[in-house]
């Protein structure tokens, strides 16, 4: 074998880069191998139309672990978060509702719809914030080892339980009730304003193959209220999300890690149940004592690893791991500002077409039977409002996240469906943005098939697998293998397919690095 490293990280996505940094800081020789020419995977900025740079993957940064911001000096490395203001504008058939980061401002807006809801709103935010804060430590640690929890783990768990209890018996019971509920039922207990409920449902359901009526979807709302470093539930990044990935790569290199791009791993080599290294396209092999895969579980175990190294039960579980992505993107290069008169002057940087819970559920119904939604839910981002340099002066980038666009279509295929879906998106947007069609200079369509081909996201799933309760915590990605380790000694998962799942948190990478370092003293040779 050519070179040899302590740890090879397969895939230079944001989690892989975070893992690389902490492993390097832990004194290990780390190599990150990225298939594409740029790092970051779907956390990236690309020139999708000449002169127009936009998000071909994620449009905003979600809840990046606060400790990473400081620890990795991201501000110094050029990361500037720009919160959307208003946070989001929910667009209905004839009305819009602006939701601000500032609670009193949102209350004033809500009062136009319902005074009762305006009065309730702060309690809603407080309840979810407290819940998220109590949950936070659980996301920052590996899931418990159900088989034989260590004494330390048990005390830790007890501590977490007591932390919930300290919120008060009533609050704790309300929190225990929440996870299995449907987001619709949960929101109906608090509010009557349909646009408000629909917008929060979109938050809970983004990237998920469920609808507002589905039990278990209420839980998707809680992580939205996690404390994060940039103080906003979602924020743009100056220069697009590529700036974040570049900064993470910068930090990794500073720590001593090596990053190679245009280096596609085609095989994770192992012998006798132990990892030995990787092989690249072209035949180059690199030895390593450990390999951390930033690829999703299906790609890792069904394409990169030798199947003989895995038991039939494990393989069955991986095959049954629910992926089937439902997100498509349509990026527009616009000749001028896409005004939304109903929302007042100017262009809102983030708005969504979600008139009601029923609208979302019907969009989901279509997908259940293997079709792209006839009337899709649109989550629309206009980064140029806060970051004009992404397009020529006066022009704009509009990035639309479309649900539901199921990877697996029953009739026809994405080749024929892609343009039809994009046309439906344009029709809907034209309803709210005067002259929209004339504004469009060009468009880029990314179906789940395209996301798979471009970023290696199996079945186009943006979170490396459904984040529903049955695939969370000690069940992610597979029962018994939720602590970053895999059946192959020395092989780890460090991406969103591991706890706590997707969203741009960096938590899987951080947790995986800790576990790898924990295991290191026992790693022979």
């Amino acid at each position: 074998m050519a070179e040899s490293f302590d740890i090879v990280i397969v895939g230079g996505g944001h989690n892989g880069l975070v893992a690389a940094t902490y492993l390097a800081r832990g004194g290990r020789r780390v190599l990150v191998l990225e298939k594409r020419s740029t790092v970051g995977g779907p956390v990236t900025t690309e020139e999708f139309v000449p002169g127009f740079r936009g998000p071909t993957g994620a449009s905003v940064c979600g809840r990046l672990r606060p400790e990473l911001l400081e620890d990795l000096d991201l501000a110094k490395r050029g990361v500037q978060f720009i919160p959307a203001e208003p946070e989001v504008v929910a667009v209905g058939d004839s009305q819009v509702l602006r939701i601000f980061r500032n609670v009193p401002k949102t209350q004033a807006e809500l009062a136009r719809f319902s005074q009762k809801d305006a009065d309730t709103y702060p309690r809603f935010v407080e309840f979810l914030s407290r819940f998220a804060a109590a949950l936070d430590p659980i996301l920052a640690m590996p899931p418990p080892d159900l088989a034989s929890p260590s004494l330390g783990e048990l005390t830790g768990l007890l501590g977490r339980a007591l932390r919930f209890r300290r919120l008060g018996k009533h609050a704790m019971q309300q929190m225990l009730r929440l996870p299995p509920m449907a987001i619709r039922d949960f929101l109906n207990e608090w509010f009557e304003t349909e646009l408000l409920k629909a917008s929060y449902a979109v938050d809970a359901l983004t990237g998920t193959f469920e609808g507002p009526w589905s039990p278990g979807t209420a839980f998707g709302l809680v992580p939205q209220f996690l404390p994060d470093g940039h103080g906003a539930r979602s924020a743009f990044v100056r220069g697009g999300l590529g700036s974040l990935s570049n900064a993470l790569a910068h930090a990794a290199r500073d720590a001593g890690a090596t990053i190679r791009t245009d280096a596609e791993v085609v095989h994770i080599k192992s012998a006798d149940g132990r990892v030995t290294g990787v092989e690249l396209a072209g035949g180059e092999t690199i030895g390593a004592r450990a390999v951390a895969s930033n690829a999703d579980p299906k790609r890792t175990f069904l394409h990169l690893v030798d199947p003989e190294e895995l038991s039939p039960e494990f393989l069955l579980h991986i095959r049954n791991f629910e992926m089937n992505g439902v997100v498509a993107k349509v990026n527009f290069a616009l000749a001028g500002p896409p005004n939304l008169p109903a929302a007042g002057d100017g262009v809102p940087p983030h708005f969504r077409v979600c008139p009601s819970l029923e609208y979302i559920e019907r969009a989901y119904d279509d997908a259940k039977y293997g079709q792209a939604s006839g009337k899709p839910v649109l989550d629309v981002f206009v980064p140029t409002v806060v970051d004009p340099d992404l397009a020529p002066p006066g022009m704009h980038v509009m990035s639309t996240q479309v649900q539901y666009a199921p990877y697996a279509l029953r009739r026809g295929g994405w080749d024929t469906e892609r343009e039809k879906l994009a046309d439906r998106v344009v029709t809907i947007l034209a309803d709210h943005i005067p002259g929209f069609e004339r504004l469009v200079l060009d468009r880029q369509i990314l179906t789940p098939l395209d996301l798979e081909a471009r970023f290696g996201l199996t079945e186009g799933h943006i979170y490396h697998g459904e984040m529903t309760l049955d695939q969370s915590l000690f069940l992610r990605p597979v029962p018994g293998w939720s602590r970053y380790r895999t059946p192959i000694d020395g092989l780890y998962l460090c991406g969103s397919g591991a706890h706590p799942g997707g969203g741009i948190t960096g938590a899987p990478g951080l947790n995986a690095a800790r576990e790898i370092l924990k295991d290191w003293p026992r790693r022979g040779r």
Binding site: Q173, Q174, L176, P180, M181, W213, E361, D365, F474, G480
Partner: protein
């Protein structure tokens, strides 16, 4: 003149009767007050037409706790189960899935569709039975008060934990997945044949306003296997004389122990003084007093209709208001002049004696659910059908039959019109569906009864027409049923208890809520807390 008792049971449903029987057995002076002219609630047999005994609401028995059957010696009071040993799912194309009796027979039947599925079936059944075995003891446990730091509550939590420890790691994961997955997704992992999956997942949606693709429905799959592990009372079965005989047998046992039962005695309100439930007032104005008032009515009826809101804590009222109790089912009961004949398997065969499902695919059932989500009854409904008279001749004159059809979905809240206006149309839609499989059905009907959720509410007193006294979803089960903090049968007013399906472990003809409530009442009595 006021009547004084030790305990008053509101509602003569099977759970209330169980509570009454156990209290009477312990020497208490008990009276059961039933609004209708007949006891039983939704476990009732009514001779609606001479010679035809309709099992009006519930139609099969399996989950009645063996402990109750033994303690109350129900067989001596006429309780007898006739096993329902087959499952028949006809398909529109003339094929059918039909298995009965032995594992070998089931194998052959499923192998007609897929050998792989035939091989998987016994493994699946064994796993479900293991899960059911784990759940069964929890049915007769009082849920712990989670969040309480009281030592006796922590002991209960430890007991529950001990129960959890009986599972292997694999079984624990399976349980967690069953609680969170949809029946369809879980079955997709085991089987490839749509009709096999459809026939199994229908048990996942009975009585709920959820579809086979709704997360959490996989859990109910194991309930189907609960009966298999209760020893002598194995599979699902018919009760000789209809489900009313369950209630009647329990009532006889209760009377034998000295309990009184009164029909045509509607409780109008619960009498409260100084934060204590002291008695009830009937619709007639008659007042009865007792130390203990146990309500077998559902939580919404009990706390929002029979008691002034001002007497109850505000949080508790809010919790009860949020309690989901939308009914999702209807019933079509038919008196037939002869045995029905399926076009795919004509004649009065063995297949008529067991469970019959008109739900040929998972998508069919899911689409039926979609209609209900948007406030309409299913235009192509799922029908869970049985002809108990094929095994129990006491239900109909010789050669004639009664057919019980449980229908999903029929949502209590309709967007257009009312159930009174649309009941006929609904019933005709059901008959249209049945006609697709039994072409002669309309020609052989002597009498018909269409029951919408609204009718179930009016007739039986089930709020929302919900057959389980509230959805059986995890957010309303165990220590959360009917509302957090009040899951141990004691209610916010001293002396007031909940003993019906609105309490743990929920609905189905189990008798468990009634048993558990009685136990808690007697414990309180012994500790002079009453």
């Amino acid at each position: 003149m006021a009547q004084r008792y030790d305990a008053i049971v509101i509602g003569g449903g099977h759970n209330g009767l169980v509570t009454a029987a156990y209290l009477a057995r312990a020497g208490k002076k008990v009276v059961v007050l039933e609004r209708r002219h007949v006891l039983g609630g939704a476990a009732v047999t009514e001779e609606l037409y001479p010679g035809f005994k309709f099992t009006v609401c519930s139609y099969v028995c399996s989950l009645l706790r063996p402990q109750i059957i033994r303690d109350l010696d129900l067989p001596s009071h006429g309780f007898e189960v006739i096993p329902q040993e087959s499952s028949f799912t006809p398909l529109p194309d003339g094929r059918y899935l039909f298995y009965h009796g032995s594992e070998e027979d089931t194998f052959q039947a499923v192998a007609k569709f897929s050998r792989r599925d035939a091989e998987a079936m016994p493994r699946f059944g064994r796993l479900m039975a293991r899960m059911a075995k784990f759940i069964a003891p929890t049915l007769t446990m009082t849920p712990p008060d989670v969040g309480s730091l009281n030592p006796s509550e922590l002991r209960k939590l430890l007991a529950l934990n001990k129960q959890v420890k009986t599972l292997t790691e694999d079984e624990l994961y399976t349980f967690a997945r069953l609680m969170t997955m949809s029946a369809a997704d879980y079955l997709d992992e085991w089987f490839e044949t749509d009709v096999v999956k459809a026939s199994l997942c229908s048990s996942g949606i009975i009585g709920t306003l959820l579809g086979p693709r709704s997360p959490g429905t996989a859990y109910v799959l194991m309930h189907h296997y609960m009966g298999e592990i209760d020893g002598a009372y194995r599979s699902w079965g018919y009760v000789r004389g209809g489900m009313g005989m369950v209630s009647e047998a329990i009532a006889r046992a209760a009377r034998q122990f000295g309990a009184e039962t009164r029909v045509n005695a509607e409780v109008r309100r619960i009498l409260v003084r100084n934060g204590r439930a002291i008695g009830v007032e009937l619709a007639s104005g008659e007042k009865l007093y007792a130390k203990v008032i146990a309500s077998g009515a559902d939580p919404k009826r009990t706390f929002l209709k029979l008691i002034e809101k001002s007497e109850l804590p505000a949080d508790f009222v809010r919790g009860i208001e949020n309690f989901k109790i939308e009914g999702s089912s209807g019933k079509v009961n038919l008196a037939l002049k002869e045995a029905p004949s399926f076009s795919c398997l004509p004649g009065n065969g063995v297949h008529l004696r067991g469970a019959i499902s008109l739900g040929p695919s998972v998508d069919y059932i899911e689409k039926a659910y979609d209609d209900a989500k948007y406030g309409d009854y299913s235009h192509r409904p799922y029908v869970d059908m049985c002809v108990p008279s094929t095994l129990d001749p006491t239900l109909a004159p010789p050669g004639k039959h009664i057919m019980s059809c449980f229908i999903q979905y029929a949502p209590y809240s309709l967007r257009k019109g009312t159930w009174e206006e649309r009941r006929e149309e609904f019933g005709e839609t059901v008959l249209d569906t049945i006609e697709e499989y039994i072409p002669s059905i309309r020609n052989i009907i002597l009498h018909r009864q269409f029951l919408s959720p609204w009718d179930l509410e009016q007739m039986i007193g089930l709020t929302g027409g919900n057959i389980f006294h509230g959805e059986l979803t995890p957010d309303q089960l165990l220590f959360l049923r009917p509302t957090p903090g009040w899951a141990q049968y004691r209610m916010p007013l001293k002396g007031l208890y909940l003993c019906g399906s609105g309490a743990h472990p929920g609905g189905g003809v189990m008798g468990a809520p009634g048993l558990n409530a009685a136990r808690e009442i007697l414990r309180d009595w012994a500790l002079l807390r009453v």
